[in-house]
Symmetry: C2
């Protein structure tokens, strides 16, 4: 059955791979599942047809037959649950991999989102310079704990899983800030994620949208 996801017609990051369709593309590439992409303009994202698919007017969405999903975490989990390659077979190991998915999205990403908001939406405010270090320290608090847990392991819990896919994707948002480099094992962890052939294919596919080879119009 054909799988169709949505992505930005013009991503705010210009193809750096930080838009959330990259996470879904990566998951689909890890399990070897072909997919189609429908590009959506900022205007179309706020119109009824797209809001019926995604109540918060964002990308990505996921359509497969009569199933329509939104929310990246849920889409990646759906892909991981249906096809081999992103969740271990052992029940306890599987539950722990799912735990890392939720930890990435609800414990590590919120302060990183707040840092992005501070820069993007409050960069021109009179408090920005004084407030930014506070926000960065909240990110560091989480990274420090994550760094301790990862130690010198390659991945968070045994083999690469959907939990690592999500955590690497969340940490990638920090790349331009320099904060990630303060934690060498986390920087190496992210680099391991980026080096996976499936990630490279996903990255190249989202970049192709901006270099003149969109998958679909």
């Amino acid at each position: 059955m054909t799988i169709t996801i949505t992505a930005f017609e013009r991503s705010p990051d210009g193809g750096k791979g930080l838009a959330r369709d990259t996470r879904v593309r990566w998951a689909l590439e890890e399990v070897g599942q072909p997919y189609q992409v429908r590009l959506v303009s900022f205007r179309a994202m706020k119109e009824p047809a797209h809001l019926a698919l995604h109540p918060f007017g964002q990308i990505p969405t996921y359509e497969e037959g009569d199933l329509a999903l939104f929310e990246t975490g849920a889409i990646v989990f759906h892909i991981a649950e249906r096809r081999a390659g992103l969740l271990p077979d052992d029940a306890n190991a599987r539950a722990r991999a799912i735990t890392w998915m939720f930890a990435a999205l609800n414990t590590v990403e919120p302060p990183i989102l707040e840092l992005g908001t501070a820069r993007l939406l409050e960069g021109d405010k009179p408090w920005h310079a004084e407030r930014l270090p506070l926000v960065e320290d909240r990110v560091r608090a989480r990274l420090g704990q994550l760094s301790v847990r990862l130690g010198d392991a390659d991945w968070l819990d045994g083999a690469f899983s959907a939990g690592d896919l999500m955590m690497v994707s969340v940490l990638l948002r920090l790349k331009s800030s320099g904060i990630l480099d303060e934690y060498p094992n986390l920087a190496a962890y992210v680099a391991r994620g980026e080096a996976r052939p499936a990630y490279k294919r996903a990255f190249d596919a989202q970049l192709a949208v901006y270099t003149g080879k969109p998958s679909t119009g």
Copy 2:
């Protein structure tokens, strides 16, 4: 097999039910699963024994035989997956319920967490009064979209599910702010959640910790 969760020895909210163990207690009550509680002090939460269970030094955790989980979303999902009552049987409806869990935690909760941070950690900063309305408006942007999607339905997608449990729990954090009351259908939705017998039992159990009847020492 005995299930043991952790909760604050002294919750920052003094028993208002906003600590995240309430979400896990609620899920366990919905599926009729008895559980034990181990109370943890702020000091113990940052010590090696607890950090081995929860790398970010928080509560709740979940122990069942040789399985140890952290992260509320993952724990609630684990409970929902193993026992009937929180996820529909139909595969597509199940995927949509899981979508709402992730949407609650990664789309709706982050701006609400930011509002809490603004009040709790930056309430004494010179920028607080001018910045607070900006943060509140980011919360309103999400609530407006959620309110439109919910419409006059009782729950987000058919029958009550783990998605509603998580969304109601996230929205409960706004109760003291007054913002929720700007969206009457969301306020009624939260009230429907609070009226569920399983929620009441969970709320009473977490409150008992502060009124002299802790489940365990």
